[in-house]
């Protein structure tokens, strides 16, 4: 079957999805495996992620740019987390409730704009704090997905998208005051 894939690689008519698979299939599988530690589950996640990617393939122009890599990684990781949660029968509502909203104080707009020079570090901190928060902010404000699309990509309900988005904003504001 690799011969077939090589044929695709040499074919001028191959499309973006084929290019994505050829370039990143091993990394996609690795991300899924790291979450699930199970070969069959990781395969399911790669398949589901490819089907999800196909829905948003029109948003991808360059297979090798950071936007594409980040989107692929986000979709695979959250599809794996979703499967893990289902296998462990962990209701999402508990997961969401686990994060505390206590002691958040809103910084001024000026403070936030000044802190933008540390955007890379802030993004890292937010991701370390809870990667789902950084991801949902990115899907919403960088990729411009609507809430329904975000719900499908992250494997959560429409209502949870709103809750998680609000919490992500609050956490980010808190980080910016520290």
């Amino acid at each position: 079957m690799l011969v077939f894939l090589m044929t695709i690689e040499n074919n001028q008519s191959k499309d973006i999805l084929e290019n994505i698979y050829l370039k990143y299939h091993k990394k996609m599988y690795y991300i899924a495996y790291e979450v699930l530690k199970n070969e069959h589950d990781a395969q399911d996640v790669v398949q589901t992620s490819i089907i999800k990617l196909l829905k948003y393939i029109d948003k991808i122009n360059d297979v090798e740019c950071n936007e594409t890599k980040s989107l692929i990684a986000t979709i695979v990781r959250h599809t794996a987390i979703d499967l893990y949660r289902k296998k462990k029968k962990q209701p999402l509502i508990n997961y969401e409730k686990a994060s505390s909203l206590a002691d958040e104080s809103a910084p001024s707009l000026d403070d936030m704009v000044i802190r933008l020079s540390d955007a890379k570090m802030l993004a890292e901190q937010l991701s370390k704090l809870k990667s789902e928060y950084a991801d949902i902010l990115t899907l919403k404000y960088y990729y411009d997905f609507d809430d329904k699309e975000i719900a499908k990509i992250l494997g959560i309900s429409y209502g949870n998208v709103r809750i998680r988005l609000n919490r992500a904003k609050t956490k980010l504001k808190k980080l910016m005051t520290e």
């Binding site: 079957m1 936030m112 704009v113 955007a119 802030l122 890292e124 991701s127 990115t138 960088y142």
Partner: protein
């Protein structure tokens, strides 16, 4: 919070999101070595090959359907234009309109004439006009064939088994006639007490006369006796 603040906050989120994208992409790039070490299942390659094959088939079908959709729209527009053109032509050109209506009339009346026709005026039952003149005598073997009307001009055609035609015309007397008299024999005659002309050219005879404000003519391959007898026999019919 006002619109300005919303816009600034949105810009802040977008900026942080861009930084997150770069961070994730950077981390994604570092996975190469680890990913290479993890055995990759062949089943996934098989699945993807089949997935792409089906996707290509779907894409081809969709492209064909899209093309057919566009083509069918163009064909529909073309057909509508053709049909509209034919309708407008048919209704605006009188000659065509008359022929279409005559065709319909002729078919139905041929059927009715079988049961109600009388020997002496077979011609008259076959004409569907409100007011008209028609001969009550036609030479042996000639029967009604068809009728045509162009404005005031009404023409009745009679035909025999050999396919020979007699044409009886009637119109308002103001109508201008043109009769081919080149190398023809033209004789003044009396028809039904009125002055008329008998024009004979080769086998064809034409008789023309004016009576009660109407001009009549009979044209056919007839001898003088038959054509005069036919002219003398015309009657006025009113339904």
């Amino acid at each position: 919070m006002n619109d300005y603040e919303d816009k600034v906050l949105e810009g802040v989120y977008r900026h942080i999101a861009k930084a997150h994208v770069d961070n994730v992409a950077e981390e994604f790039d570092t996975l190469s070595k680890k990913a290479e070490k993890l055995p990759y299942p062949d089943e996934l390659n098989d699945w993807f090959a089949e997935f792409i094959k089906q996707k290509r088939a779907r894409d081809r079908r969709k492209k064909i359907m899209d093309n057919l959709h566009v083509l069918s729209k163009r064909v529909a527009v073309f057909l509508i234009i053709i049909v509209l053109g034919l309708v407008v032509t048919t209704l605006s050109v009188e000659a065509l309109r008359v022929r279409v209506f005559n065709f319909i009339t002729e078919v139905t009346e041929k059927y009715t004439s079988i049961s109600i026709v009388k020997d002496d005026d077979i011609v008259n039952h076959a004409v569907d006009w409100q007011n008209y003149y028609a001969p009550s005598y036609t030479p042996s073997g000639y029967v009604f064939h068809r009728s045509e009307q162009f404005d005031n001009l009404k023409i009745i055609f009679y035909q025999n088994n050999s396919g020979q035609i007699i044409q009886f015309s009637q119109t308002a007397s103001s109508t201008h006639y043109q009769v081919d008299t080149e190398n023809a024999e033209v004789v003044d005659i009396n028809v039904r007490g009125e002055n008329g002309l008998l024009i004979k050219k080769e086998k064809l005879s034409t008789i023309v006369w004016v009576e009660e404000g109407m001009s009549f003519s009979i044209i056919g391959e007839l001898n003088d006796y038959e054509i005069k007898k036919m002219a003398e026999s015309i009657k006025y019919f009113k339904k």
